[in-house]
Amino acid sequence: MAHELDHVRLPLSVITTIDLARVCRELNDLDEFLLQATLRKPGTPMQLPRLSKMLDDTATINKVNLLEDKQRKTLITVLAIAKDKAPRLHISFSAEPSPLFITKISEFIRKNIDQIALMQIGLQPTIAAGCVLRSSNRQFDFSLRKRLRESRPILVDLMGKIQDVSQPVSVKVDVK
């Protein structure tokens, strides 16, 4: 099963789990349509369903001819496996990312981390900048919020130095 996943590729247009589920559903519909088409009488006019760009890109990147029954079945199988087994990464940003931005992030992840990784985009305005990536077991905080928290001792030290220079604090106790 893992061996089958080694050869599958996901296009940059398929980023999220929803996208992959949609591709699978569309591919199943296509397979169903083609199966029914074989049952039709020869010469009966029919119109091939219009394929989405995601399915088209998926077939292209995997070098699959969707009209070939065997290849189509194989693709359906590996995509179903990928839908269940593909690693999922949840990435939160401070603002709603643009599709181009998501594509670049996805491209980097597919190239450097996992070729079939699926992403889920979230929104966390409190992180100010950067992102928070959450995998299956860990959370990687690359946000400005975390950096400010980590830099708090530096800020406190600087404020202490400023306070020491401006006005020394002294407490005198005189009990009579």
Binding site: K85, P87, L89, F93, S94, A95, P97, S98, F101, K104, I105, F108, I109, N112, I113, D114, A117, P125, T126, A128, A129, G130, C131, L133, S135, S136, N137, R138, F140, F142, L144, R145, L148, R149, R152, L155, V156, M159, G160, V169, V171, V173, V175
Partner: protein, 203 residues
Amino acid sequence: MGILILALIIVASVLVGLLIYFLKKDSIPAAQVSTSTITNNAIEDVEHIFNDEFREELRNRGRLHFEKIIGENAMFLQQDLRLTTSQLNDYMKQEITRTLKNEFSKYEESINNAKQLAVESIEKTQATIDQQRQLMTQQLSDQFSAEKTHMISRFENHMADVVNHYIMTAIGNQIDLSDQLEFILKDLKDNKEAIIEDIKNGA
């Protein structure tokens, strides 16, 4: 009075004795003179010499002498009495003075002891108060220092939170994600191994 009479009797006996002696001495040649005559003559002479006037004179003289002696003795006795009284007064004064001095010295000693005790008690109380004051001063100083440190720490922490919150609020959505892309990719690249490891383990 008895002494005077006794003296007179003695004097009279001596005179009678002398008279008898001289009469016997003169009458030796006239031995014939009888003893009774002589005795009678002597008695008569005695009676003649010691008549009432002479006796009265002797009484008067004895009375005067006795009065003189009595007066002198009274004077001496008065002097002695005065002297004794004076000495007694002096003695009483000395005794009273000595007793009073002793009593006063004891009283003074008691007062000094009481004063010493009071002073020691006051000194102990003062020392205790000083010790308590120093302890309280130290405690107050420590509490002031701790409170100061706590307040400074709390201020710094809160100030850091305020600054962080201000920065995050000020930045808000002003930084475009496109501008952050380079930094995000750099962070992902730096943590690529950890992410891959977690994906492998999680899968």
